[in-house]
């Protein structure tokens, strides 16, 4: 008889980033189905789901509801960093754990969060290194007006300046805003070597279409000479982007559709969002298996007591080791251009900001 364990799900099924929520959610549900059907797994998960509908202020109360009204101690969810920061005080009070499966801007290591997607030393630093070697060091930075864009661009500015490059502009749009003419005009005027895109949702989709039109008018703004770089764009958002505008986009991530190596099992996933969520639920299932009382333990107890070890979750930072791939959209699908050796998440960049840049040439394995 399998032990039934309730697992909280906190994904917005509507709102500006629902495509990403849905990708994560399908990874979670796929993993739950697989674990529940596996006779060798001593437990089964029961989803306890709440939908904040894209409202950042709803995450804290709904997370509290899951932790108070069910026996769930673990919640998987949140897409924006804003919502993650909203639930941390709740988790701290209730002794709960959030499994966060989205690339983020780093500089966090909560005792109550496991970070299973990439942080800047696993996405931004290698992506900039790639761009410097192929395109140049003159960048234009932009983002949606909240912590992801602010922090990513702050770090990019430091890395670009440190490498002797130049930041030609830095612009932010309110979440959901579609007024991108100013961005396009500035990019046209400054003619950078690349554009670092930290816009999210509809703003991003509108920008990409406008930038594609700019490329039709002026050949400099085509992917060969001035591509758009992203650290959080995956296959799950391609349906929202006009196919012509998606062509040539460059993204960094631990997984792209069809790539083998991570997560284990050789299974195919729709995107790295789905893969990271799937992998998180499996890690949690293995941590909870095989010792009594595990379901009620705090994250730090669980990581210390699990008979199979901490499942690759670093005891100090709660981040994981991930492959680093740079891929580019070609005929509607991401095609890997470069693959770096797997690297441990280093949220505070304790090993430096330039590590991956310097190692780029020696680590390169062209796939």
């Amino acid at each position: 008889m399998k032990e039934r364990i309730e697992l909280g799900l906190l994904y917005s099924r509507s709102g500006s980033y629902s495509l990403i929520s849905e990708a994560c959610r399908s990874g979670v549900l796929g993993a739950i189905a697989k674990i529940n059907a596996d006779p060798d797994m001593p437990l089964s998960f029961v989803a306890v789901e709440r939908d904040p509908q894209g409202n950042a202020d709803a995450y804290g109360p709904l997370c509290e509801e899951i932790l108070n009204q069910s026996s769930a101690r673990h919640v998987i969810g949140c897409v924006t960093s804003w919502s993650r920061k909203e639930v941390i005080p709740t988790l701290e009070r209730a002794g709960g754990t959030l499994w966060y499966t989205i690339p983020y801007e780093g500089f966090e290591a909560s005792d109550h969060v496991v970070y299973t997607h990439a942080c800047p030393n696993q996405h931004l630093l290698p992506l900039l290194g790639w761009a410097f070697a192929r395109l140049g060091r003159r960048g234009y930075l932009m983002g949606s007006n909240y912590i992801w864009g602010w922090e990513m661009n702050r770090l990019a500015r430091e890395v670009i300046s440190g490498a002797g490059g130049e930041v030609l502009g830095e612009r932010y749009l309110p979440l959901g805003a579609l007024e991108i003419e100013r961005l396009i005009a500035e990019i046209r005027a400054t003619r950078p070597d690349f554009v670092l895109n930290n816009l999210i949702g509809p703003s991003q989709y509108a920008f990409l279409e406008a930038y594609h039109r700019l490329g039709q008018e002026d050949a400099h703004f085509r992917p060969e000479t001035c591509p758009i770089l992203s650290c959080n764009l995956t296959e799950c958002e391609l349906p929202a982007i006009h196919p012509d505008a998606a062509e040539g986009l460059v993204a960094a991530g631990p997984y792209f559709r069809g790539v083998q190596g991570w997560p284990d099992g050789g299974q195919n996933f729709g995107s790295s969002h789905e893969a990271a969520a799937y992998s998180a639920v499996h890690r949690l299932a293995r941590l909870l298996s095989g010792h009594a009382g595990a379901a009620r333990e705090s994250l730090s107890q669980l990581l210390a007591h699990a008979p199979g070890g901490s499942e690759g979750i670093d005891l100090a930072t709660h981040h994981t080791q991930l492959p680093v791939l740079i891929a580019q959209v070609e005929n509607g699908a991401f095609v890997p251009r470069e693959r770096f050796a797997p690297v441990a998440g280093d949220p505070y960049l304790a090993h430096g900001r330039e590590a991956i840049l310097q190692g780029a040439s020696s680590l390169r394995v062209v796939s």
């Binding site: 941390i88 500089f107 290591a109 909560s110 730090s300 090993h351």
Partner: protein, 202 residues
């Protein structure tokens, strides 16, 4: 003009935590290690090696002056007060001790990173202000020398403002500060035996 503050890289920095063994230190220790720091806990005194440390956290509740191997308030690194009781006397002591930032006890899930950054930047600002003040003070002390040098140059038939300009040009040519240039003029005059300025003025 506002200057962009550069966020320092903290990885590999050595932190001394001067606090008696206590459960709240576990939370602090976890945060510091996640940030990538080497942590040394000590009580009741800082070891000699602490002089080369990068940060010191100290207990504002039970701390006392003799714990620190430097003159009060003159730590060679940023200091962060761990404050439990917010008694005014203890806050006063932690400020006199030279706290650049503080972290409240019990320590929870966050707070250490911002305390480290604020302490480091406040420490650096204080260091550069101290250096600037020392320089200004030194130049202030040279006022009399400048007056003497201008007087000596003016005695050769120049107006006071021409003498002043000449002194500035001499300092520039010698690539020394205005005050150092003045000192040279006076020293050269004294060496030539013209100890009595009055005779020149006469």
């Amino acid at each position: 003009m506002t200057r962009r503050i550069r966020i320092p890289v903290l990885g590999g920095a050595r932190v001394y935590v001067l606090h008696r063994p206590h459960p709240t230190l576990q939370a602090l220790d976890r945060q510091l290690r996640a940030i990538g720091l080497d942590v040394v806990q000590c009580w009741p005194e800082l070891p000699a090696e602490a002089l080369s440390g990068d940060f010191v956290f100290f207990d504002a509740d039970q701390g006392y002056d003799a714990q620190f191997p430097w003159p009060t308030g003159q730590s060679p690194m940023p200091m962060i007060a761990l404050i439990g009781s917010e008694a005014p006397g203890r806050i006063e002591w932690s400020l006199e001790t030279g706290a650049h930032a503080q972290l409240l006890k019990p320590v929870g899930d966050g707070g250490a990173y911002s305390a480290l950054l604020i302490a480091r930047i406040a420490f650096e600002a204080r260091q550069s202000l101290s250096a600037e003040i020392a320089d200004l003070r030194r130049r202030l002390d040279e006022r009399q020398t400048v007056v003497r040098a201008v007087t000596l140059l003016a005695a050769r038939g120049k107006s006071e403002s021409e003498a002043y300009d000449q002194l500035r040009q001499m300092a520039m040519a010698w690539r020394v500060s205005f005050e150092d240039g003045a000192r040279r003029v006076v020293a050269s005059h004294d060496a030539q035996g013209g100890a009595n300025d009055r005779s020149d003025l006469g």
